[in-house]
């Protein structure tokens, strides 16, 4: 069984995580641009971060047999530093044009401040210009209102609902999101946000048609195996395979595939990651024994 984690911040994760993820069946990940915990103070930090998402991190993932994609955007927290935000807006288009950039994101509200609103709207316009899907970060505080307001603004800007994933949903927001025709993603965290068992209930109630499971694993307490683990719990609780397939694999392809940059064929063929090719001080192996990992195609099994 193969999985996609369509929201995970791999720059914060170790090579052990990559190995475990691939072992658990994750074949592709999407890494949304977000904040790093430590606020950035210059546009150069953003530039190098975005470059890392399309460069080094992509290469690092490839060494473990995982296809790495990303979304590019100015996150809502840092949108509040307006002087910096202006400069970041200037460099965004160049990165949005790059290969493997599957959406504008993650964008939306944090405090729901005026500055956040301004840059959210400007980036929605960029998504239209580049014909890319949008990944929406919904706020932790005042979540329900923040989510409703995000959807209002998206519709006001005329972006079709099928192009938008509203992320970090819970029981209070999911119905609104689905009723309005958006994709609803759920972040499965060990403690906060959403648990695996609650996810089982969500799928039992709302089905799988427009629901997506992700880990949002980052530098905080989080689990890079949330997607396969949630799938396992769903299976234990008798949820049908096609629901698991849609929520933990296929729906991500359907929505982000609209970018033209996210194709199953990218990872579907047999492939052999020969770590010896990427050996020593010049790879992430640092003189460890090079392993040969043969990943047979078993998608659709």
């Amino acid at each position: 069984m193969h999985y996609i984690d369509p929201h995970i911040h791999m720059v914060s994760r170790t090579t052990d995580d990559y190995e475990a993820m691939r072992e658990a069946g994750i074949v592709a990940v999407i890494e949304p641009a977000f904040w790093l915990g430590q606020p950035r103070t210059t546009v150069g930090s953003f530039k190098d971060y975005f470059s890392m998402l399309v460069g080094w991190e992509r290469f690092r993932a490839s060494q473990f047999g995982i296809k790495h994609y990303c979304t590019i955007g100015l996150n809502s927290k840092e949108a509040n530093n307006e002087e910096l935000a202006e400069q970041v807006m200037e460099i965004l288009p160049q990165f949005l044009a790059k290969e493997g950039v599957v959406a504008v994101g993650e964008i939306g509200y944090d405090d729901q401040s005026e500055a956040e609103d301004k840059y959210f709207r400007l980036q929605l316009e960029l998504a239209k210009e580049f014909e890319l899907p949008v990944m929406i970060h919904t706020p932790h505080r005042d979540k329900k209102n923040g989510t409703l307001r995000s959807m209002d603004v998206i519709q006001e800007h005329g972006i079709p609902e099928h192009m938008v994933v509203i992320d970090h949903n819970n029981e209070e927001t999911v119905k609104h999101v689905l009723d309005r025709g958006f994709w609803a993603a759920f972040t499965i965290y060990p403690k906060t946000k959403m648990s695996k068992m609650r996810m089982v209930n969500i799928v039992n109630t709302y089905g799988s048609e427009k629901i997506i499971v992700d880990s949002s694993a980052d530098w905080g307490v989080s689990d890079p195996l949330s997607v396969p683990r949630t799938a396992a719990i769903m299976r234990e609780h008798g949820i049908a395979e096609h629901h698991i397939h849609l929520t933990c694999y296929q729906n991500a392809i359907t929505v982000y595939g609209q970018s033209g940059q996210f194709n199953e064929s990218d990872w579907k063929q047999d492939h052999l990651v020969k770590q010896a090719d990427l050996h020593q001080g010049n790879s992430v192996l640092r003189g460890q024994e090079a392993k040969e990992i043969n990943f047979k195609n078993s998608i659709g099994d």
């Binding site: 460099i91 288009p93 160049q94 044009a97 290969e99 010049n282 992430v284």
Partner: protein
Amino acid sequence: MGDRKLDFTKCVVGKMSPEEQDWLNVKMAAVKESARRFPIFFSQASRFIANDVPEWNTDEIQTLENIYPGFGSTDWTKRNLARTILICALDTNSDIQVLRVFFEIAEMNELVALYKGLFLLDNAADFSSQVKEGVRTNMVNVFDAICLGNPFAAAYLEDPAWNQLVLKAIFMERPLYKIQNIDQRRNKELADMLQDYIQERWAAKRTVSPEVWRLVHQYLREDVKQLILEKELEVLEKSAIETILDSNATVGEEFWNNIGKMNEINLN
């Protein structure tokens, strides 16, 4: 446009589909007019140009080898060819500024195309510090773009930088026989560094690539000769070492290329 750029562009455009040619012609014209949109066009090649490797006949390969020595020894995808054509469309007076800025934000596959294409520029020599920076990359495909089948390094890098490139290629276990002009750029300093490297590896009971001896040839030191006598050699290694020990042997490119190819087969 310089002759090299022009000739390369002419050879390559015909391999694109009619739609791809239309896209490229429009973008080339726009880039010649102004470099402002160059970064976007260069990136968007991933959306408009296929990524397969075109087939060439012998004449075509010969022509391309004349323009770009080493062309035939690595795969050039249509997308890399198209991106190279876009680089060639830049005005020589401003290409250095435009590309310096773009290099900083180029993604992995873009870096590959950039490094592959630099040799064709009229002012290629102006990019040698960029290529030296590129050699420091840890992304293997980017390193390969600089190192294998690319005439830039041999043409424009000074010995210290060239030697670093070769050393790094050995550490990364890249096929040395695909490094353009590897024999012409042999030098004593490199041979000495490699003999120190051989001693270090053997002391740690580790192996070295049989291709390494290609660069030691004619510079073999007494201390290493001594070590060889005490060492049990592997087949390819033995063949390489016996050749450099025999002063009567005439060793050509062909011999070393075969060692490299056989070593590659062994590694796979």
